[in-house]
Every structure is written in structure tokens, then in C-alpha cells.
Amino acid sequence: MLGKLTWDAIPFDQPIPLAAGAVVALAVLAVLIYITVKGWVPYLWREWITSVDHKRIGVMYVALAILMLMRGFIDAVMMRTQQAVAFRSNGYLPPEHFNQIFSAHGTIMIFFGAMPFMIGLMNFVVPLQLGVRDVAFPTLNSVSFWLTASGALLVNLSLVVGEFSRTGWLPFPPLSEMTYSPGVGVDYYCWALQISGVGTVLTGVNFVTTILKIRAPGMTYMRMPIFCWTALAANLLIVAAFPVLTATLAMLLLDRYLGFHFFTNTGGGNMMMFMNLIWAWGHPEVYILILPAFGVFSCVVPTFSGKPVFGYRSMVMATMAICLIAFMVWLHHFFTMGAGGDVNAIFGTMSAIIAVPTGVKIFNWLFTMYGGRVRFTVPMIWSVAFMITFTVGGLTGVLLAVPPADFMLHNSMFLVAHFHNVIVGGTVFGALAGMTYWFPKAFGFRLHEGWGRWSAYFTIAGFYVVFMPLYVVGLEGMTRRLQHYDVGAWRPWMMVSVFGVLLALVGIVLEIVTIYVSIRDRESLRDEVGDPWDGRTLEWSTASPPPEYNFAVLPHVDHEEYYWRIKQAAARSETLPEEPHYVDIEMPRNSATGFVAAFFATVMGFALIWHIWWMVGVAFVGAYATFVAFAWRDHEEHVIPAETVARNDHARRAARAKALKAYSPR
């Protein structure tokens, strides 16, 4: 009846996961009860859960990402403390638990932390920057989000029901095959990623279509903000790379469920094929993570330097070059397979070449600051920290791309330091810069500067103290994923590293305080005008938060710096542009499709993991029926009357007119 699921699946004998799971479950329950008692359910259902508004979906993505980043951080704390104490002893985490933690940490951070954060920012920002009302497929967008949430839920469920994968954030066979990993851990991993992977591909399709097909009148490709370019590149990578991941995991699942032999030791299976396939997705994936962050910095640095981005064309070229070359370097993740001199040399060289456009970008941000008036707001602090940190991370990346050096450093703590150097120093700093930068646009008030600044300082310092020691122990031969060790030379560095975790923790607490204080003091932090940073791109031309339809009338873009120029012209003439003619606006109606389909997908994933076949069938039919119901609906849009649009826009114009007096044009 319930497949493999029995009471044995609950780890009654393991206090740590059980307690952790119980605390989380209770917290979730408490929140749910609170929401229900307060009577917020209808509001949440109407305005958020069934919303197909790209801004709402973007905010939900970021909220999910923040939640998951915290879960992943708890894993990180456990790993660092374990390695700090497990010197000539077993520490407090047995291997079967420790191995789950590093696997869950990587999986959660990459797939449910970093990626949703970037996708959330793209969701919120791209249509606004393109000067349009929504993405190409709004309901699909909601489906994408909820499928991602479904994957995240499954991964977290494994904490209490069964176990998670113990094979690392990428399940290398044959370790991940049934013979060596007979538990449900790898199945949790695979099904969570298959489900969220569908969501990610749909996001890719959605955004590529949006950016290629739906732009404001006059918004030619070469007038798009760099963030839209990087979003385009990242989504092209998603569309091209994610199907590879899906196929690879499908093959692994066939091995595990139906006794196929794609990657097994025996029966003609070949694990080298898995390595190639997973990294053919994996390297593009790292650029999916970093490109949107590059885009964020290309918004933040010009805004706070009071200048346009330097070398726009170079930036575009560099972005697209990275997009292309990202597919030609995958083998640098396994130089140590022994493919031979020629193969290693070619992939090593290609990997070094990808550093060229990356370097160009750094220089262009540098020259964006040159001749500017740099305001060190919180987003700018993150940006400068990024430029420095990422340059170091790029350097160590290229070092690892030199095969003989990689022969010494592959899979070492040096590698761990490298990718955290680029992912934390690049993607996470970018995410936090972006969040701080667009927060007032989303909620109508800024985040508190003082607290935010200290949060940034502590987080940045924490990052360096945690990861610089890892470079050192990597050079001292320490391999990654050690549950315990006996080498005295590594010990002091592990102690330094764990101290860094403490600093990072302070940074995170301060970030929470920042958000709390900002909500409390929101009246004094209010952004009345919609342009709190003296921005340059279209999202700052509308109100904060923007109305559902984004723009009362779509802008007619005639220059790369369109908004900046009309702002300057208005300031010089001290009059706003003429009032436009308002018309009715049609917007897509809310839809529960995403939520309901994801509900069935979660049930189906769970049933597949536990071999509860009847439930798989029921859930599949449910998910399918949801789509059919959606396809059948008659009313797809609702109309916002011209009077409402006019009323809202008059308020916006009034605030702008008032602000105009105080604004001195450049």
C-alpha cells in the first residue's frame, strides 16, 4: 500500500535530524496557524499564490531562495564545526549523516538558493526594464515557480522521512547506483531536481521568448540594459543545458528503478559518460548562476557612479561570448580522468579563454567608476567587494584550468575555496546587491542603510575568513568531504575557518535585523517618487511598487539611456513630459494552475521515491487534469479601466513633479 515507506523511515534513533525536522515542522505549522487565525489566507491566495504577476512571482522566488539559503547555511555551520572538531576523532556527525549534509548543502544552495534568487530578480526586473507589462507566458511563470518550490519541499522532506543523497551535490555513479546507494537518498535528489528542472526549463523558454519578442516600442537589442542581455544569455544557457541534466538524471533513474545499465559498473555501463553529461550541463550551470549577477552589477555600478556603463558593446559581446564558450569547457572538471595530453590541453585552453570576456567585464566596471561620483550605498559596497573577490576567484579558476595544476588540486579544499569564491563572491553578493537595489521598487521603501552596511561588512569578512584558509589546506593536500582527519597541519586552518562562519552568522543576523528595522521604519524610508537611487533604466520611471500593469502607457524608447535622458530633460525644463492618453489595459487573470499542478507534482515525486505506484498514478492524472482545466478556461484576461490607470498615474506624476524641483540635472 505505501511502497517502501514504513516507520523505519523516520530517524527516531538520530536525535539531530529528528529534532531539526521537528523544529522546522513546528515552525511551519505555527506560521500556517497564525496566518489562518489572522484571516490572511484569502489575501495570500488571491494576491500571491495564484498571482501570475511577474513582480509577485519574482518576490516569491527571492523569498524561497532566502529561506533555502538559510537552510543551506545551517548545513554549512554543521560541516565547518564538524571539521573543526573531527581531528583525530569522529566529531559529532557520523559519516552517513555528514555525507547527507554536504550533499544537501550543495544541492540546496545551487538549485534552491542561488538559482531561484537569480530567477527571482530576473522575474521582477526584466519586464520592467524592457518597458512591458509582463512576461510572455504569465501562467507558465507561476507554474515554474511552484515546481521549483515543490523540488525544494521534497529535498527538505528528506530530512525527516527517509534520508537524503550521500553522494555529493552531483550524484556520481557508480556510487549513486542501487548497488552502492540502496536507500532513497539519491531518489529524493533525482526527483526533486527533475520536478524543479521542469520549472527551470519553462523559465528559460519564458524569458528567452520575452526578451526576444516582447519589448517596449523602440527598445532595440542594442538599447536593452545589460541586465536584460545577461538574463537572455542565462536563459539561453538554461534552455540548452537543462534538458541535458534532465536526460542524465532520467538515465540514472532508469538504472536505479528498472535495472538499466547506463552508468553501472557491470552490464556495459559507463560512469565516464555520466561525468561528461553532467558537466556538459554543469559548467553552463555555473554561468547561469553568475551571468545574472554580472547584470546586477552592470545596473548598480553605473547608477551609483552617476555614469552610463562603460563600453556597452564590449559588455554585450563579452556576455554572449561567455554564453557560447560556456559549452566548450566541461572537461576541465575531470582532467584527472586521464584523457590524454591533447584533450586536456584543448579544454584547459578553452577554459582560460573564457576568462578573457570575464576579465573585460571587470575592466568595464572599473572604467564605469572612472570619472564617476561613486556613492557607497549598500548595493555599491557589495559591488566593489564583488569586483575584488571575483577577480581572485577567477584567478584560482584559471589556475585549476591548467591541467598539471589541477592534477594537484582537483577535488581539494582549494577547489572548494574556488567555487565558493565565485559563487558567494559573485552570485550571492550580486543577489544581495540586487535585492537591496530593487527592494524599494518592490515594496515602496528602502532598506535601512546603516544596518545593511554592517551586515555587508560582516558577511564579506566572514566569507574571507571562512574560505581563504580552505585555499591553504587545499595546497596542503586536504581533499574535500572529509568527515574526519588526522593531519595536524590542517587543524589550525579549520579553526580559523569556523571562526569565519561566526562572522558570517553575524552578517546574516544583521541582514535580518536590517529587514526588520526597515519594515518598522518604513515611513521614513518611503520611496514616494519611484526613483530612490537616481536610476538610469526604465524600472525607475514607474511608481514604487509599480502598478499591476507596470506602465500606464508603454514608453517609446529612442536611446540606450532613454529614461536618464527624459529625466534630465524634465529637470532642465522643470516640467514633466506631457500627460499621455490613457486607455484600458488588459492583464492576465490569476490562475491556481501553478499551485495545483505543483501540489500534484510533489505528491507524485514523493510517491515515486517511495514506490507507491497507485499514488503516482493518481497524482499524474491530477497534474494532467490541472493542465486540461487550464487549457479549457474561457476568460483569460481582466480589464483595468482607463480611469483607474489615469488616477494612479496622476498620483505618480504629482510625486515626480514635486521631486523635480529638488533634482539638479547633470
Binding site: E163, N265, A355, N364, G371, F376, L395, F407, G477
Partner: protein, 287 residues
């Protein structure tokens, strides 16, 4: 398993006296790998350090409060700067590509190396979670201890008796994967007598952290003596099957009774290790 763990711990304590840093190479390959690492680092630092300084300097000088800095709000393009900005990284990478190309070929793990005397063939089998070193010419089977004469080229043939992992002695040089059903090749040479740290460097399951071994470089005489010291029941296919079960093992040296053991493992005549017993949450390996 718990009893074994205590014994293994003591041997691990002995191991921790081993040297390890890769900047203290004790073999020709390690020395060359480290040299290339340093060279590449130097090439990149030549551009990275000025860049880092420029980032800090520009950010500081052009801070909003600095009235002496000239504000140029329209400075968004300069052909010359663009040229420099593309060519500096490109030239650096060109230089690096040379290092990569030459290094990849010279230090290809499969490429034979020179040294004193006839090359010594050692067959390496990674198991859950121990290392088996077979000396076909000396007819020896050594568990968790790799012994090699100083200066002699070592011709390593490697495979896995279970999952994929990697063989690595940091101070001797280059690591390489071990995979079931396949033979990887690695050529090394130890240049200075001593005890070195050897490890598995690819996650291989619950006992992974204990999957390290002692790599000893000894004089030719000591090596000869060591080869004579094999004791106990000869190591054959049955002994291998027992060893291939999941668990830890103490160092041991035994005469090798099955000359084709390695090829039998590679061709899967001896099947890969059985893995854990199926269960939802397998019991702890190491308490």
C-alpha cells in the same frame, strides 16, 4: 566494525606524522606540477594585482565626496581603452595557453618518465574503503601501504574494485581516477626517502575519510628487504573477495598467489564489490 576502528585509529595516528604539502614536493612529477602551478600563478598575478589595486584606487578616488576628482558623466566609451581591455587578458591567456599546452603533454599521467633502474610496475586497486597495491613482479599484495624505491620510475596501473575514486599522493604528484572495468595509468617517481600521505580524493561512501594510506619511499636495499618481509596466508581471489567487502583495513603485506588478480578485476572476472546490504538507512560503518 567497531573493534577494527580502534586499530585503524592507531595506524592513522602513525600516518599523521607523514608529510603532505604540495609545495614541498618529494617526487619529480610533484615538483613539475608545483612549478607549473607557481608559474601560472605568477603570470596571472601580473595582471590581477594591478587590477585589484585599480579597483580600490578608482573606487576611493572617485568617491562622491572627493571634490578634486573630475566628474565625467559622459565618459562611456574609449576605443583605446577598449583595445587595452580586450588585449591584456587575451595576451595573458595566450601566454597561459602555452603553459597549458606544454604542461598537459609533458605531464600527461600516462607519459613514461626516466629514472634509475628498471621501471617498477605497481597495480593499484581502490576498494571500499581501502587500497590494495599489487606488485606483480615481486609477487606481493600490500594493503594500505605503498612502498617504492627512491629514484625508480613507478609505472602505476590503477582500477577500482567498487565505486569510482581517485588515487593521490600529494608529494609525489598528479592524482588520477580509478574506475571499475578500466585501467588508468600514472607514472610517478619518488625522489626522497620518507613517509608520505596518500589519500582517496573522490567521495566513495561512508568510509571515505579513512581511505588514506602510507606511501613510503625507501632505499633500494630497504625495498629489497621489504619485499622479503611478506608474511601470512598468500593473497588470492578468495582473499580479495573478502577484502572487497565494505569496511576498513589495517596495513598488511602478503605474498601474492594469484598473478592475474589485477586483470581479473579489470575484466570483471572478479565482480565489483557488493556495496552495503540493502536497507533504508544503513547502519553506521564507523561508529
Amino acid at each position: 566494525m567497531r573493534i577494527k576502528r580502534a586499530a585503524v585509529l592507531t595506524s592513522a595516528l602513525a600516518l599523521s606524522g607523514c608529510e603532505i604539502s604540495i609545495f614541498d614536493p618529494k617526487g619529480t612529477i610533484a615538483a613539475q606540477d608545483a612549478q607549473i602551478l607557481v608559474d601560472s600563478l605568477a603570470i596571472m598575478l601580473a595582471i590581477v594585482i594591478p587590477t585589484l589595486i585599480a579597483i580600490v584606487a578608482f573606487a576611493w578616488w572617485y568617491r562622491a565626496g572627493n571634490t578634486r576628482a573630475r566628474y565625467r558623466p559622459d565618459f562611456e566609451y574609449s576605443g583605446q581603452i577598449e583595445l587595452v581591455v580586450w588585449s591584456i587578458p587575451a595576451l595573458t591567456v595566450l601566454l597561459l595557453a602555452g603553459v597549458i599546452w606544454v604542461g598537459s603533454h609533458d605531464l600527461d599521467p600516462g607519459a613514461p618518465i626516466k629514472g634509475a633502474g628498471k621501471p617498477l610496475t605497481i597495480q593499484v586497486v581502490s576498494l571500499d574503503w581501502k587500497w590494495l597495491f599489487l606488485y606483480p613482479d615481486q609477487k606481493l599484495a600490500s594493503v594500505n601501504e605503498l612502498v617504492a624505491p627512491v629514484g625508480t620510475p613507478l609505472r602505476l596501473e590503477l582500477t577500482s574494485g567498487s565505486v569510482m575514486t581517485a588515487f593521490f599522493v600529494p608529494q609525489w604528484g598528479s592524482m588520477i581516477y580509478t574506475m571499475n572495468g578500466m585501467t588508468s595509468r600514472l607514472n610517478l617517481r619518488a625522489d626522497k626517502a620518507g613517509d608520505y600521505y596518500g589519500e582517496a580524493s573522490q567521495i566513495s561512501g561512508d568510509g571515505f575519510a579513512d581511505m588514506h594510506f602510507k606511501a613510503r619511499a625507501v632505499s633500494a636495499d630497504d625495498f629489497a628487504k621489504w619485499t622479503q618481509s611478506a608474511a601470512g596466508v598468500p593473497f588470492d581471489a578468495a582473499a580479495y573477495k573478502e577484502l572487497a567487502k565494505q569496511g576498513l583495513a589495517n596495513p598488511a603485506l602478503r605474498p601474492l598467489a594469484a598473478p592475474d588478480l589485477f586483470s581479473d578485476i579489470v575484466t570483471q572476472k572478479l565482480p565489483p564489490g557488493p556495496g552495503p546490504k540493502p536497507s533504508l538507512r544503513p547502519p553506521s560503518v564507523v561508529n
